[in-house]
Symmetry: C2
Subunit: 186 residues, 2 copies
Amino acid sequence: MAYVKKKIRQQLLIEQVKEKPFLTDEELAKLLQVSIQTIRLDRLELGIPELRERIRKMAEHAQTKVKSIEGREVIGELIDLELGKSGISLLRITDDMVFAKSQVARGHYVFSQANSLALAIIDAPMAVTGVANLKYKVPVHVGDKLIAKAEIIRQRGNKYFVWVKTRNETQEVFRAKFIMVSWDEK
Amino acid sequence: MAYVKKKIRQQLLIEQVKEKPFLTDEELAKLLQVSIQTIRLDRLELGIPELRERIRKMAEHAQTKVKSIEGREVIGELIDLELGKSGISLLRITDDMVFAKSQVARGHYVFSQANSLALAIIDAPMAVTGVANLKYKVPVHVGDKLIAKAEIIRQRGNKYFVWVKTRNETQEVFRAKFIMVSWDEK
DNA sequence: CCTAATTTTAGTACTAGCTACTACGACCAG
DNA sequence: CTGGTCGTAGTAGCTAGTACTAAAATTAGG
């Protein structure tokens, strides 16, 4: 009987910590109606770190997250790249990229993948987007793996005409035409 | 002389804490070649909270930040909104939005502001982007305040035609035409 | 150069929120 | 009734501090 109780309590503990990571052992003990020592033992058994560790990890995670967004020149993962010709990138849609209500991906993530890929395949030190024509064909959902294929179809002076087609597992979801403009440092 | 030194040291302290918030007083003392007590006094004077407080605030911030990104339907700050008609949003370009090399803003930030604003002004429970035509007129730099003005110019069934014009302080930098598609839950 | 003020360092007592450990009593099953 | 699991209790020790007092060092002013 007590054996079962323990498991239930530990389950509750896991839930509590997940929901409210800022609770001290003392507060957890009061919540679960046991002594502090029991909480500590449970944490030890379950491998739950102490309050300070939990908070520190959250803060560290938040920091590295910010940095990784900063340093990322390409949205998504570059799978293949032939500079001056074509490129392929992959982006997995996570739940923070979609609208809470509809679970449909925000348009700018799909755009960002295509746009940054279009930029990446251009063989020039610096370039910016000049013009873009986009067509969203099918809504994209959480879990979808978006594969964007970009191709330079024409080059005229410092202007590059790039086509990007994005597919999920089953169909084409997005299409874009970019005119990218490059320039050398003056 | 020492009066100046103190100010310099406190300035260094502020920078250090800003850059690496995970340093203890002891580590800071070693870095700045003074005793722990001096660091504590400086923190007291400067109103810098202790390590644990700093970390806790970061973690709390990270938590609310995750939620606010989820909840953030609009990139930038909504300044004005007339549902079904028009809207204005402001986005300040920070250094993590630009290319390190050229200091020019990545195209997708400008797009995201416009796209999310176009979406926000539509008076429907759910909508997605269908088609977009973009024109980047002038490169945008760090510090620029982008003011995007969106206007619904035509509505045909569940299709909304939206124009967005984005200016910085001096000129129009971006222009977009969107066709947004709305739908009711089925 | 000496004194006064400022700045820095040293040290103590106390705190939260723990870990790691030992010890004891309750309960329950075979 | 004896062994094993559980929960509880309590101690020592830790980190990274606060809050305080006091002394030493430095510096500026006269």
